[in-house]
Symmetry: C2
Subunit: 230 residues, 2 copies
């Protein structure tokens, strides 16, 4: 479902060149449950943004379901791929400040389209409940705790049951129990709906559940193997 060929992402900050991604080759199949791991600054967020069509590599190519999303695609077309197929959980949440938790999540369904108002309401309430957010649904982000905001960001990505979920450190602000519940939910969506999950994480409990672990270091893949410790 995801194919990346020789992708490099260079930032020119000042006179220094930063190789946030450096010659990445990666193939991810439908229904995988994979995590990216690596030190702070090793390129996990950059790689997720390129897979998610939020950023483009400086050189190399990215294919989503066989379609080249790096060359010859307009910004509008890239947006269509994202809306149709990808749910993204940002490391810094990126919630809409003027919308409530409920509205932030429902908004993702409205953009995606294809459902009645009643269907959207039911699904949004279901996701809020799965994430333990029913009592907080009418509050805005600045009225929520860090972990509550993180869960709204997660809800927004999962509500439309996208083919591909990209989750950048989804448990960073969650306590152990909430984190375990989330991991169980994502595994269930993976096993029952065939949704492909790609995380980045520093959380060893989440790492343990991944079926494949891809290690990054200085923008390069230095390890890619099945998880030996299930």
């Amino acid at each position: 479902v995801v194919l990346i060929e020789a992708a490099t992402r260079i930032y020119n900050s000042g006179e220094n060149e930063v190789r946030a991604m450096d010659g990445i080759n990666l193939s991810i199949g439908r229904g995988e449950f994979l995590t990216l791991v690596g030190p702070s600054g090793s390129g996990k967020s950059t790689l997720l943004h390129c897979i998610g069509c939020l950023d483009a590599p400086t050189s190399g190519r990215v294919f989503i379901d066989g379609r080249d999303v790096t060359t010859g695609l307009s910004a509008a077309e890239r947006g269509e791929v994202r809306n149709a197929k990808i749910g993204f959980i940002f490391q810094s949440f990126n919630l809409i400040p003027v919308l409530t938790a409920y509205e932030n999540i429902e908004f993702a369904l409205q953009i995606h389209g294809g459902q009645t108002a009643a269907q959207m309401r039911a699904r949004t309430l279901e996701v809020l409940s799965l994430l333990g957010l029913e009592s907080q649904k009418d509050r805005r982000p600045n009225q929520l705790s860090g972990g509550q905001q993180q869960r709204v960001a997660i809800g927004r990505a999962l509500v439309k049951k996208p083919a591909l979920v990209l989750a950048d450190e989804p448990t960073a602000n969650l306590d152990r129990k909430t984190s375990d519940d989330l991991i169980a939910l994502m595994r269930q969506m993976n096993e029952q709906l065939g949704i492909t999950f790609v995380f980045s994480t520093h959380d060893e409990h989440l790492m343990r559940h991944a079926r494949r672990i891809v290690r990054l270091s200085d923008g390069r893949i230095v390890g890619d193997e099945a998880n030996q410790t299930p």
Copy 2:
């Protein structure tokens, strides 16, 4: 160094009353190394903000070094207490977007006052180095990874060697090695300089290093004891 008496913090969001803190009594001595733990939404950030004079309880009192900071203090006076005595690491970093990593950290010394330009420069470079940020020092927050931003927020709090450091989930976005280095640095500052540290965390590795663990649930303290597992 910190005394909290019957402190309650109520938010009126809509027609519901939220008791983010509910009758908190807490006493913290000089040189302690304590962590707050508890589920997402249990009140850790709220309590840290009240200790740090960034917020005030709806009822009850907070004393810093014997001085009542809740009644009869103007906003300016509360700011003076913060600048003189407290270093705060925010759960969402709160970096100044137009300043570089270097400038964000040095700014804390400039507000604190009392040092020459050369002393401030040397101390800022020292902190950047201790946190592994030398190569990133001239970049702005949106040019940094999540964990790099977190370390700038940490550097800003530690640079002035304040009497009291309040750290809201300081390792949430850090890999294991960077997190271990940070914990070692904070323990050294605690043991050599007598700085009091109060964290909130979900990270079991950081919890293990605390000498005292205060458990929160629904805005109340439900446990307060020495750490049995050193």
